[in-house]
């Protein structure tokens, strides 16, 4: 019983330390994920469709023609 409690305490401690030491990284990761979700949902997915349409056609500017 005590051993289980100790294990729980240790894993919580590790988690706490992880959050404490990486708060900026976690914050930026959360913002990045939020941005991805906004992009996916924005204008009924038109943002990703715009990207896909550009990427599946040969980009004349990228290859130095148009």
């Amino acid at each position: 019983m005590n051993e289980n409690l100790h294990k729980k305490h240790t894993s919580e401690g590790t988690l706490f330390r992880f959050f404490q030491l990486n708060k900026w990284s976690l914050l930026i990761a959360a913002v990045a994920i939020a941005f991805i979700l906004i992009g996916l949902l924005r204008a009924n997915g038109d943002e990703v469709k715009t990207l896909l349409m550009k990427a599946i056609n040969i980009c004349m500017e990228c290859i130095g023609i148009g």
């Binding site: 990045a32 924005r42 715009t50 550009k54 980009c59 990228c62």
Partner: protein, 299 residues
């Protein structure tokens, strides 16, 4: 408690193998290189974490820098939350690890630099000034120009891809022009400019290590900004004897003891490989503990 890898030392040759595998995976549409056409599947809506032109006949995913400009240059949107979020996520996870381990254009420059010729060592001050070039590319050419310069339809050109990107010229432009007769007919002065610039960068890469990554790459700049706070970090432990071997071996001009998480470091791990005492360690998710870190005392 810290997840620190001290025993694994990845040799430069194994790194090149990983880079080659990365290049093959990101450009896995092999039949495109025969037919002179590009992959048109839904995977193209996902950005790869490296500079890999989506007009390359083999490309399976989208180039993040090309995508950022494509969406920002469209009539409907000024900014791509989706692409920006993806690049930020890649950057916060591993910083410039992608430059050192997965970028196909990085691999090409690495291999060219192996050609036995006298090498140029850029003075530290000049190197620092020139390295701002990539931030100018990112903020000026990739992000601001598409917002400022728009045509009557409210659209803009992907300026970086159009006038600068050598990865696009080598991965997309040259193969398509060689394989596709219609493209060959259409190639004009812009193509000549891009090929000239790409050749100049490749020739310089023989003498100067990763010249494009150091001074021009906007994706490297983005990852570099996030590198000091990314989950993947280097740390210096108390075994450091200040021999300076790590700084001497670093081809990117970084002193790992002074700045283990420098925005210029591409995580090639040459310093870890070279360190005689195993004082440089990599970790994921945990900052170095105060009693072992010399980051504060040196920098």
């Amino acid at each position: 408690m810290d997840k620190i890898k001290t025993k694994k030392k990845i040799s430069p040759n194994r790194r090149h193998l990983i880079q080659a595998l990365g290049a093959a995976v990101f450009n896995g549409h092999f039949k495109g290189f025969i037919s002179g056409s590009i992959y048109k599947g839904s995977l193209k809506s996902i950005c790869v974490p490296v500079l890999n032109c989506y007009s390359c006949p083999g490309a399976l995913g989208a180039c993040p820098i090309g995508s950022l400009q494509a969406v920002a240059g469209s009539a409907k949107f000024n900014f791509s939350f989706y692409v920006f979020g993806l690049i930020a996520l890649f950057g916060i996870l591993a910083g410039r690890f992608f430059c050192g381990y997965l970028c196909p254009f990085g691999l090409l420059q690495d291999l060219l630099h192996k050609i036995p010729t006298p090498k140029i060592k850029v003075p530290a001050k000049l190197n620092r000034i020139l390295s701002f070039g990539k931030y100018l590319m990112l903020i000026g050419v990739v992000m601001l120009l598409p917002l400022i310069v728009r045509n009557s339809l409210g659209m803009s050109d992907p300026f970086f891809c159009k006038y600068v990107c050598p990865a696009g010229t080598i991965g997309g432009g040259i193969p398509l022009v060689v394989l596709n007769p219609a493209m060959r007919e259409a190639a004009g002065s812009l193509f000549v400019w891009k090929v000239t610039l790409a050749i100049a960068i490749l020739v310089l890469s023989v003498f100067l290590y990763r010249v494009f990554c150091r001074y021009l790459c906007p994706l490297g700049a983005f990852y570099g900004i996030l590198q000091p706070v990314s989950f993947y970090r280097f740390k210096i432990n108390n075994k450091c004897i200040d021999c300076g071997k790590c700084a001497r071996v670093c081809k990117m001009g970084v002193d790992p003891v002074k700045s283990p998480n420098s925005p210029e470091c591409i995580r090639c791990r040459d310093c870890i490989h070279e360190c005689p005492t195993g004082a440089i360690e990599s970790c994921f998710g945990f900052k170095p503990s105060k009693e072992t870190s010399e980051e504060e005392s040196h920098g």
